[in-house]
Assembly symmetry: C2
Homo-oligomer: 449 residues x 2
């Protein structure tokens, strides 16, 4: 029963569009989940996608808009009037509505906002737009079910039914005081079991996890994961309940973050997918390659400086890719562990201890690799003094590379820069240069050239 | 109000343990969330952790056990008797119970299973243990709320209250027929609104997403994400309802997968954290470094074969780290995009088209980089014929590297091997060797040495 896009399905849809067979299209999409429609739109031409968005009811298309690829949405929004966008936005929860509007130019934002009929909705969207990206406030929705601690269970159920109309999933019912401050929570299960005359203040659970609107999203996601929460209330500095974040939105954020970090580690600067256009893929990939090119030219420059060693020790030059690879690999390993540790908040203890640990680790790795190299060298016809030189300088390179890999992300993090950018090509390239320089310096000292 | 581990906190706990002040410890942990206790245990010495696990009630410690680090849990379990483990397991939902038991040796598994008093629970655990890792069956819990389509709302609410006792979070209520086959679902909200005499068959929603017990977890997670599901029922081939997977468990799996893929891309073979011991970190890092070492020796071997070019074109040897870096970077970029695309199920279209696209992309990137190189070369005192040679062979290397990066993961995936292992050092190392070989071959043809 899984939905799958087939060639036949796409042909059916395009043939309906070509024939302007609107009734057939409407009934075709009638029962379909918005996420499935979005997948179809991603595969259609842009004109066809706009045709369908304009044709279907905005109750349906608003959700579809949230699910299509970013670039498809951007193009569709460009083709809708402010009035049409406002209609879509009216159907969406405040968080999704704010996301859509946030993607528009400032001028268009104002146009669309002025066209939204529901004033309260408009005010909520305005409020959400004011939060910085990556804060809890930017991800929360204003829609939630809240009850006053002074109500009875009966009044609560009645009010709740009204509120629940607007809320897709209830999760927890939040309990507030007369000033709107978060006091605790109630579960639907508790409410099903309690007698109708009981006061809420007697049955609610005062222990409730919450986050502040300005908290970082990483913190929110760590907390939701740690405590297995499906929704978390968001409060302001005075503990007034502002909104809530649900797990499905958090899952999307986590997935995006993980994908982005993975791509950064692989030297891809923009969020791209395998099926994006060649131009988009080039834009995402070329910057790090250019950096790599200049890094490579840097090592050419360094080696030119040691050219005089070539007559006597030409083998040293055969070893430069090996040294560069080791420096790069070690650096990437160290940085990946630190970047992940920073994100998961488990990098503890002093920097001094961490330094000692990295040096210890590199010593072990470097010694093992050095011994292997010395053992293998005779088979490759390498002289003993050369294989010792290469092994010892490789050991030093590994230590320095792991320190760079460890401390660059830590320093970036301390300065408030996303440490994930310091993985992949950045570390590889800088370690290549450092590694080759160090290699020749140590070789020079040992072999006296 | 966020929980945070401080030095004082740890000192308090250890001082209570040293003084065997059990009452103080029990009251200290009384109100604490199991995830917080687990965090404390991760920081304590192993003996201290065991002390606390043995001291506290198994209702609490069973959840703590689920939350501690894998290595801490392993050590604690080794120190508990089969009887004690059985007591912990009795308190857990079937999925968590199966996870714990699955970590024991086969011999111990039998011992523990025979000590579980609740026979039904034991049977459920046995059933879950039979599923392969990475299948929906291995992640599902048997605990859920299900009602028969022939019941009335009243009977349903009554039965549900009894069932709900055992179920931490209700999410959906699943509707089955007399044969136990999944027919649809009900939400708590629907039940709150419906009149008590209505038959369930009249109010349930027949549209329900589900997965088969043997479905791959990737599929399950993509489906839950796509449709924003908070729980999904798991059925057998005859559509009989077997259990359900909740979003909190899926989030943990997603997070683990993302962390694992990130580490694989960075050349780390085992799941490690920044705070693991040096030995564990070495075990995780050394294997890929050894591979890198042999890869590097491979390029030494290749360059020895082109040694005769050194007299006339020594600069070629200065360029090998640059060529290796480009081949590595391009390969990692291509493989990362494909690996991610495969995981997210958005690698569509024919292999032939993908090949053309990669070649096109590499041509653009390679040409841009080549032009930059030719422009910069004179500044580095490089002769024109050399800079053209390097540019053209770099272009070829980039094309080949991107094809290797693209097709190795695709081939692995087709053969049922996790394509994520083909990223990072694997691609870098093989592309280093290929790249350097190709570079010298093309240079040889162009410069006739």
């Amino acid at each position: 029963m899984s939905f799958e896009i087939t060639k036949e399905l796409l042909e059916t849809v395009t043939s309906y569009i070509e024939a302007s067979n609107d009734t057939a299209l409407i009934s075709y999409f009638e029962e379909m989940h918005h996420a499935d429609i979005a997948e179809i739109l991603d595969e259609l031409s842009f004109d066809e996608a706009v045709y369908i968005i304009k044709l279907l009811d905005s109750e349906k298309t608003s959700e579809v808009l949230m699910d299509v690829d970013d670039d498809v949405r951007e193009k569709i929004l460009k083709n809708l009037s402010a009035k049409e966008i406002a209609e879509e936005v009216e159907e969406l929860d405040s968080d999704d509505a704010a996301d859509i509007i946030g993607e528009l130019s400032e001028e268009r934002q104002e146009e669309v906002m002025s066209q939204i009929e529901d004033e309260e909705h408009a005010k909520e969207i305005e409020e959400l737009l004011a939060y910085d990206d990556d804060t809890a406030g930017s991800l929360m929705a204003k829609e939630l079910v809240k009850v006053n601690e002074n109500w009875t269970v009966l009044k609560c159920v009645r009010e709740m039914r009204a509120q629940a109309e607007e809320v897709t999933r209830v999760h927890s019912i939040y309990v507030i005081d007369n000033e709107g401050k978060l006091k605790g929570r109630l579960s639907l299960k508790d409410l099903l079991i309690a007698s109708t005359k009981t006061a809420i203040s007697e049955v609610y659970i005062p222990k409730v996890d919450y986050v502040f609107a300005n908290d970082d999203l990483d913190e929110v996601s760590n907390k939701m994961r740690k405590y297995d929460l499906e929704a978390i209330p968001v409060v302001d500095d005075e503990h007034v309940l502002l909104g809530r974040i649900t797990i499905d939105d958090m899952v999307d954020v986590m997935k995006e973050e993980a994908d982005k970090d993975y791509q950064l580690a692989a030297g891809i600067v923009e969020d791209v997918e395998a099926d994006d256009s060649i131009l988009e893929l080039t834009k995402a990939r070329l910057p790090w390659l250019i950096l790599g090119l200049f890094g490579g030219l840097g090592s050419v420059f360094i080696m030119e400086g040691f050219e005089n060693a070539m007559n006597k020790y030409k083998e040293l030059f055969f070893f430069t890719p090996l040294i560069a690879a080791m420096a790069g690999n070690v650096g990437v390993q160290s940085s990946a562990i630190i970047v992940q540790g920073l994100a998961n908040d488990n990098v503890k203890g002093s920097l001094w201890k961490r330094l000692l640990k990295e040096v210890g680790l590199s010593l072990i790795n470097g010694l093992v690799l050095g011994v292997i190299l010395i053992a293998v060298a005779p088979l490759m016809g390498l002289e003993a003094n050369l294989s010792y030189t290469v092994s010892i300088s490789m050991l030093c390179v590994i230590i320095v590379a792991s320190l760079i890999g460890t401390f660059v992300p830590i320093i970036l993090d301390k300065r408030g820069i996303d440490p994930a950018i310091a993985t992949g090509p950045f570390i590889t390239t800088s370690n290549d240069i450092f590694g080759i320089f160090l290699f020749f310096m140590i070789a020079k000292m040992m072999l006296h050239f």
